[in-house]
């Protein structure tokens, strides 16, 4: 660095070491010190002087009472120090926040548990339905009715002795969340009795629906499937998808 630019900084170092340099000059010098090793060295020498000035005063003992006063204050001073005022105000807020976070995770966990329980119940029901369908397939005397209508193919297994039936349908269209398929028994007067609702399995190309009915199936002449609002209807209201005559 050229000496001319360096000089104003080096002249300010003694005052800076004493803490007496005006703010603007101190700021400029601090910036200069970042890049100037010789000025940092000068500052170290002058700081040794200012540190020495602290001890350049002949010792003078304080009154003995000061020692006793200090001794009395020590424990409470340490306690005050260890529990700063800011922390004492912040502590309840932190505890409330922690409780809030715990509560949030608990609620999330409960919701996840309920969702898992629902999934488990659905899987259990599906398994039972498929076992019923398989049992029907292997039972002698079961009536097998092929289905082919509206591009939907499949089979209806009907066991009139046990009032059990199983419906296998391929190519059933997927439905929006607010709709479901509903199965109806149809009697000779064209009256409908609901057997239940089902939704196509998205991961499978076919859908099965099986049930052991409380109704006497021999009183009915056929079976129909309609599209209904989610949860089902008391009587058919939506599109008729298929009708199978027994």
């Amino acid at each position: 660095m050229p000496l001319k630019k360096h000089t104003p900084f080096i002249e300010n170092i003694p005052a800076y070491a004493l803490g007496s340099l005006d703010v603007e000059d101190a700021f400029a010098l601090e910036n200069h010190l970042k890049t100037c090793a010789s000025c940092r060295s000068e500052l170290a020498a002058y700081r040794a002087i200012s540190a020495g000035l602290l001890t350049a005063i002949p010792p003078k003992s304080p009154p003995a009472s000061l020692r006793r006063q200090l001794q009395i204050k020590l424990p409470s001073a340490r306690r005050l120090f260890r529990v700063p005022v800011q922390w004492s105000f912040a502590q309840p807020a932190l505890v409330i926040m922690a409780l809030g976070v715990l509560l949030f995770f608990n609620v999330v966990s409960i919701l996840q548990l309920r969702s898992l329980q629902q999934q488990q119940a659905q899987l259990s029901h599906k398994l039972q339905s498929e076992q019923t369908a398989l049992a029907l397939l292997s039972y002698p005397g079961v009536k097998v009715i092929p289905i082919e209508t509206n591009g939907i193919t499949g089979t209806l297994l009907l066991d009139g002795d046990r009032n059990a039936l199983a419906l296998f349908a391929w190519n059933l269209p997927q439905l929006p969340d607010n709709q479901t398929y509903q199965v109806w028994l149809i009697d000779s007067q064209a009256e409908r009795v609901s057997l239940g609702v089902f939704r196509p399995e998205p991961s499978l190309p076919f859908t099965s629906f099986s049930i052991i009915s409380s109704e006497n199936l021999s009183n009915f002449v056929g079976l129909g499937v309609t599209v209904e609002p989610s949860g089902g209807s008391s009587h058919p209201t939506g599109t008729r998808l298929l009708i199978v005559n027994f």
Partner: protein
Amino acid sequence: MSDLEEAKLATQVAQGNEKAFLTLYDRYSSRVHALTLHILHDPMMAEEATQDTFLKLWNRAHSYLPERGSLLPWLLTIARRVALDRLRLEARRPLLSDADDPDEAWQSIPDRNTLSEEHRWRSLYFAVQSLSSEHRQVIDLAYYQGLSQTEIAETLGWPLGTVKTRLRAAMQQLRREWSR
């Protein structure tokens, strides 16, 4: 007292050992009190500042880093800040940076390697006494009263340039005297 003993006592103080604290008090209170009295010129205020300084030692002894320097300059730096802040409160002037934080003290303490032994520091007393009254006056106002160069110029009615020149000359003379 060796640096090692001092560091050990400071560690004990940090752990809440009152006996260690009182040992350090007995050792250094006269130095601290002399400085606070020199700055404040008021026995009551000086006692309070001395007490505050040692309470900071009691509460913040863990901030003392033996590898950075001896305990006395650290303690005296804190004492100077405490006393100057009392002066500034009285004069309604802005306080020094953070006098409550003893960590700040390290910033104005030179690196341990550049420090001389205490007996060399004592020689500064005589060096200060050898200064002309004008030079001693600016050193006193700058360091022991915490005034900036502009404030010194206003206080003494001197041109700012004169203050700067005399302050620089005084420090250069102290440096020469001290390095003899």
